[in-house]
Symmetry: C2
Subunit: 593 residues, 2 copies
């Protein structure tokens, strides 16, 4: 069958489940967008700018399994690259299609707009190489093969890929293959037999085994297999901070969140004292480990990753986590399924919140306690970085909640455009966004696109007068952590002319109650501005911020040891900077309780 290159690419994307192509038009991609416009299998979703498009694609991929975006060359793709790098860091599969100048100009090294005007057409791909697992410039002779190769890598690795589509190539006709994309990546039979046997033997003889989960469990869809394994031997499991919500937090074997020294003591000891710790997709990042405060026995660890496994110094390439996990339960002696000892069970929920006090100013502690009851099973919950992640980390999520944050790349402003993506990917689910004012200002205009599509999330905008997360680390009262306040409650009426939103501003506990009641009944987008104190923060976040300050600025903690008469101006800093009063700190895994 003859198809144009653009239509072939769109067909392959649709075959993978892509329903939305996020992006911004530019002259080099207009023909491809026209092809998308005529497609009945996916639709183009225009975003206000390219960074937002990348975040939206990231959000969509986290729920839909994969997503795609389209920008123009140079100026467009470089606008998006930070968002794509985030998807790469966080293992999110996004297909980036960049409309480039026509092949005749590339080959002629023409000095073009949207380029550096130096005839170099290799630099953009070179940059993207650092943030994608596969790249290609599509040319007439390689179109079918390169499209298939690159899309396959995206699907398999759950990480972004990059395709340059020259403006004149999009319309060229090629012979399309009849069969579907080959998406299999099976294990080597000998290697998997050996790996399963080794891991099963270790688990079978362990007296105190445990499983530690990271975000790849969610990305690679391994949650059910993990639960089956855990249940087969009654092995308790914890989720790293970076993996919150990848499995049901109410499961009887769930130990709660593990994040190094800040963890609940029972969780911490179960993980750190395990004599066989099966780590699935685990990366010991600063954010996963409470800034490297984890203390795990090296000899206890088994690492199972998407495409390999490691047991001590023994390494198995050519095995997939999916097949190993599927093969393990039958290889293990069944142990009766039994609940965890009470001491290990993660607290089911916050203790009963105290009654609402009319007029009492809203605090972070009380707000998040309230959210524990407000979030419902099957909600999609997004949290931007800062007090929003700090607060949601302390919640015990109801069953089947999809929880989306960006703990590693940690770009503030990520979550609002990501919400556009998650809403389009799961339009029937209730979706909640928690975002701070500083983050909101980064990418605020994408609220416009959410409204334009008639989507109806509930947005909690925490207005605490600036970058509180930075204030907690350094410069509590310094002006660089201030922002210019906006009339946040007018956002929906400014960014859209159709009055498709309910907007509320809340300062006290009783106002919050009224707002939540209205939000629950609303049939439109709801935006609730929550005015809170600038130095109020979930305790776990305050603790983490202090550790980050020690890590980033070791001088801070050592300056006191020096003779102060010798100190130059820079060395005066710490005294000024400490928060005015010591804030109460809370247990990382349970700041609510």
């Amino acid at each position: 069958m003859k198809l144009s290159v653009g239509d072939y690419l769109l067909g392959r994307l649709a075959e993978l489940g892509v329903r939305h192509l996020f992006g911004v038009p530019g002259d080099y991609n207009l023909w491809f967008l026209e092809q998308a416009e005529r497609s009945d299998r996916l639709s183009f979703v225009g975003c206000c700018n390219e960074l937002n498009a990348a975040y939206a694609a990231d959000g969509a991929a986290r729920l839909a399994g994969i997503s795609a975006m389209a920008t123009t060359y140079g100026v467009g793709e470089l606008g998006a690259i930070g968002g794509v790098a985030g998807a790469y860091a966080e293992h999110v599969p996004v297909v980036c299609v960049v409309g480039t100048p026509p092949l005749h100009a590339v080959e002629g090294r023409a000095l073009l707009h949207h380029t550096l005007a130096d005839g170099d057409f290799s630099n953009m791909l070179a940059c993207y190489r650092a943030f994608t697992v596969a790249q290609a410039r599509i040319e007439p002779a390689n179109a079918r093969q390169e499209i298939d190769r690159v899309l396959r890598q995206c699907w398999l690795h759950k990480r972004p890929v990059y395709l340059q589509l020259p403006s004149d190539v999009a319309a060229l006709m090629i012979e399309a293959p009849a069969g579907p994309l080959d998406l299999e990546a099976g294990s080597d039979p000998d290697q998997i037999r050996l790996a399963v046997a080794r891991i099963a033997a270790r688990l079978a003889k362990a007296r105190a085994p445990a499983i530690l989960l990271d975000a790849d469990v969610g990305r690679f869809g391994l949650g059910e297999l993990v639960l089956k394994l855990a249940e087969a031997r009654a092995i308790p499991f914890a989720t790293l901070t970076t993996a919150k919500g990848v499995v049901d937090e109410g499961h009887e074997l769930h130990l709660g969140t593990y994040g190094g020294a800040g963890s609940r003591p029972a969780t911490r000891s179960a993980i750190e004292e395990a004599d066989c710790l099966l780590c699935i997709g685990v990366r010991f990042t600063d954010m996963a480990t409470g800034l490297f405060t984890h203390q795990l026995r090296p000899e206890a660890q088994i690492h199972l990753r998407a495409f390999d496994a490691a047991i001590g110094m023994e390494h198995f390439a050519g095995v997939t986590a999916r097949e190993v996990l599927a093969a393990l339960p039958p290889a293990l002696p069944v142990r009766s399924r039994r609940p965890l000892p009470a001491s290990l069970v993660a607290p089911l929920a916050a203790r009963e919140p105290a009654p609402v006090e009319p007029g009492r100013p809203l605090s972070q502690l009380r707000f998040w306690q309230r959210m524990q009851d407000f979030i419902r099973p099957r909600d999609v919950v997004l949290a931007d970085n800062g007090t929003s992640t700090g607060g949601t980390m302390g919640l015990r999520l109801p069953a089947q909640v999809s929880f989306i944050m960006q703990p590693i790349w940690a770009a503030i402003g990520y979550a609002l455009p990501a919400l556009l993506g998650t809403l389009l990917a799961a339009p029937k689910r209730r979706q909640l966004l928690f975002i701070g004012d500083g983050a909101f200002q980064m990418t605020a205009q994408e609220l416009s696109t959410i409204l334009r599509h008639g989507l109806k999330p509930i947005i909690f905008l925490i207005n605490n007068d600036g970058y509180t997360i930075e204030r907690l680390i350094y410069g509590a009262n310094s002006s660089y952590n201030d922002i210019n306040p906006w009339r946040y409650a007018q956002a929906a009426s400014f960014f859209d002319t159709q009055d498709r939103a309910l907007s509320l501003s809340v300062q006290s506990e009783d106002e919050l109650e009224r707002a939540l009641a209205l939000a629950s009944e609303a049939s439109s987008l709801v935006l609730i501005e929550l005015v809170m104190d600038r130095m109020d923060a979930p305790g776990a976040l305050t603790q983490l911020a202090r550790k980050a300050a020690e890590f980033d600025f070791p001088q801070l903690t050592r300056t006191a040891e020096l003779d102060t008469t010798k100190a130059g101006p820079a060395r005066d800093l710490p005294a000024k900077d400490l928060p005015a009063k010591d804030l109460p700190t809370k247990d990382l895994a349970d700041p609510v309780g």
Copy 2:
């Protein structure tokens, strides 16, 4: 003298004339921002996001001669990279300071947030290498030397540079040198003597010499030297489209704008038929040449660039344009200064505009005619890409107007944040911004920072319901060129709570008159929304867009030759896509007249 590394860097920046450090805080740069906060020589200007900060720095550098920005590692700097690439393409000197993780973490390859969590700390610098002329990671042993080396390159080349400042290095004390930065880059004495002699000989014997100017004339401050040379021999000069406004457009030797086939015929023949064409800083980009429609005699061209010269196949390295230009007039036989023949003189201004017709809808043609009178000498005028550049290109700028656009990188959304930079760089000058609705949506939030600092530009926001520049190229009625309308006239009251603006919405000629009268008397920021037809555009822009379509999609123009029964879906496109009616086209150099 002992100084901290951060204070040393800030001191060097101030020495170069940097007064503002644009950026966004992040944990890795907080200490450096604290040092900036305590500096009395420059101040930090917090922006809503990093791309906007880069654009603001670009704008500031175009007026102040150099500027600087500060972001955090990874997530921050990648947000800005598109703006920095623009500065690189357009030859704008911006110093990018990136606060990175502390050296101990870099050397320990720690898996950190804001990175790809793979222990690689080389990838960001590698990306920036493509878009900056010098780069360094500042370490204790190299701090002084690397800071000086990199800043010197920025100053000399008028292009961005990149400095990584690890969070823990900013506070370390180093011995600072007593002397100022060495910013000299003199010519080789023999080479410059030869180059000047060759060029002088060519000019002296030329019967029809001409000078062609590109943007570097402005960047390198060569305008006065160029005028002296032109006057010494009564040599007429034209400015490329990309260089509009680099010299006084009212000068008696000014031929007007040259942009290839679209140029005014008299300008075109004077440049294309010159027997000695001195090209200063010229790059024959698509945007400078009306998409490569220039027809210049190869043997007539002499190229003088910032640091070299070329006469035919003879190349002179080690000569600076500044020194060559300064040496040329005394080397030439003086010719009496005389005005150009009337046929060559660029039209002084638009013909008298027709009287205002009350209730007549605003058109692009009439609006730009009106702007010809509204713009005053010494104004700073910024135009975003699209109809705004299309319209301003047709104006004859009054004396000493600084005209700022981004013709090569051509990022829509550039000009609003750039305005923040130009306003801070020249707070006493009246500043006008022309920007379309699609561009405004890209970076709208930076209006907040402009208001926050009490700045008072006049902003003309052309609301023509989407990406008109793209519609002109392709997809006039396709949905991907649509945007969601906003309540633009409420922008200032949404993005700021202090009511520091006068906002107006204008649909007709008499409303425009009233708005301009109010704007002229206002003592605040003025935002005027101009509602115009979506397919209305300056004629020169329409012409250029057609040429761009032919260039990007050669199929478009050839499809008609094919048997239509063979055409697949992609080949149906052109018929549908042509604009409903033929728009009037105007002369590139004079769409107003």
